[in-house]
């Protein structure tokens, strides 16, 4: 009951923290899409490059986010941005790379070679082939990668509260330092709801963007 009262009392603050959180995640994922999708397509040209890039991406995933923030502080202090928004976005973007690059790479690689052969044989240029055939067919799998990236980033951004980036993690970090169970539960609950909402929203988008003919045959 106490927690509920706390939530109702602090609705404006929760709203504000949610906006901060969503802003960090969307900017990070946005940049990760802009870099990761072209990278994922580019590495389909060479097995060796692909292996290297995906390996590096996996290494990044193994770095605990709190350690990554620690590394970014001295680096970004040089431009006066050691803590706060910028390192949070950069870290989140790094974590978003692997799922997006890997899914793009896999999806493009899995396009039936006969379709590629038909597209080239009919006189499509490389960019026409990518835009009209390969990317539309790969899109559902690419969006699935974005979904994973978004859910990971909602978690990473929660930790970013420790470097003063704001967001819903603030409730948790304060709840821990002040041993205030109400704030702790509020933060955890809001984060869980945000992650579920984002996941369902993107699932809907994924279904919308699945080419009709590539979906399972209806009926």
């Amino acid at each position: 009951m106490e927690t509920l009262a706390f939530i109702l009392h602090n609705l404006p603050a929760i709203g504000e923290r949610t906006v901060e959180h969503v802003s960090i995640v969307s900017v990070a994922v946005g940049f990760a899409i802009l870099t990761g999708v072209p990278l994922g397509i580019a590495i389909t040209q060479s097995q060796r490059t692909a292996d290297t890039v995906l390996y590096l991406g996996s290494i990044v995933m193994t770095i605990p986010s709190i350690a990554l923030f620690g590394v970014l502080i001295p680096l970004l202090s040089k431009i006066g941005q050691g803590i706060g928004y910028l390192p949070a976005v950069i870290a989140a973007m790094l974590y978003a790379q692997l799922p997006i690059v890997r899914n793009t790479y896999t999806a493009i690689r899995n396009v039936d070679p006969a379709l590629r052969s038909a597209a080239i044989g009919m006189g499509m240029s490389t960019s026409q082939r990518l835009l009209r055939v390969e990317i539309p067919i790969a899109l559902p799998v690419i969006i699935a990668g974005v979904r994973i990236a978004v859910v990971i980033n909602i978690g990473v951004t929660a930790i970013a509260a420790y470097i003063g980036a704001g967001g819903l993690g603030t409730f948790i970090s304060r709840g821990i330092s002040q041993t205030d169970i109400r704030q702790l539960i509020t933060g955890a609950l809001a984060l869980a709801l945000l992650a579920i909402a984002a996941d369902y929203g993107l699932l809907w988008l994924q279904r919308r963007l699945t080419p009709k003919g590539a979906a399972e045959r209806a009926g």
Partner: protein, 330 residues
Amino acid sequence: MIRLESLTKIYPSAHGGAASVDRVSFEVGAGETCVLLGPSGCGKTTTLRMINRLVAPTSGKVFIEGRDTSAADPVELRRTIGYVIQQIGLFPNMTVAENIGVVPRLLNWDRARMRRRAEELLAMLALDPAEFLDRYPNELSGGQAQRVGVARALAADPPVLLMDEPFGAVDPVNREVIQDEFLRMQKALRKTVLFVSHDIDEAVKMADRIAIFRAGRLEQYAAPDELLGRPANEFVASFVGSDRTLKRLRRISVSEVVNGAGGGDHTTAPHAPAVSPTDDLRRVATLFLEQGVDVLRCVDADGHFVGIVTRDAVAARLAAPAGALGASPQ
């Protein structure tokens, strides 16, 4: 018209690389269907793919209607050549109409014209446009998909059509039907067609000329009747099979043997079974064997007596130096 001059493809390998296509030269006349035939790995598909430059020749040239294709931009060149592959390769994210419109769209046709063209082609291939234009490829049967694949290749009305085992994935019953439709269509369109196949029966049925390959080399290039009647060497003879005479019967029409050696008039053998001048000799042989007769009457579509067909005339036709009488027209 397509002319291949000493076309060669060597894939580099550890041992210096053997030629997978070795100095192949031949010419396909405008409106003719040429079947490239041979066992797998003989270089027939590589030869086909060098014509639309999906494979770059190591040396040699391809001329289409007199123009050297190595001078053309490969992407532009491919838009002027219809291409059908065994796996069909319809784009699953596009409807039938959009699939047929791929090349017209690359050539910047307007929407209405693309739609009209798609309707026209579907009708020609015995698919109801109203029913199929807006379907997706996963809503088509194998035979329907293959027809759409052919329609797509013909969309921008290219003078040349390359077909890489186009009917290989269709079941035998439907394959016969699609082959017949294609022959009927080809009679009207007169495209210059290069058709890869490993099936001698398909080749004999479809081809004006057959190019038979072994290990990258062209072993014989001839009309089906000549190929079957006078195989150039042991390999060709064994590839076409010991029943090659039976296969020849398909491509010789009754009109070529009527009144042949025996002569005769309408009073000869009045009760003999009748055949039409457009039947092929398989029908004649069947009647000879089934009815135990030596003479058939040839009667045209209006019921007029044309002449008689005798066993001797058929034997004489089969013994004649094949080719001397000219290839039977498609």
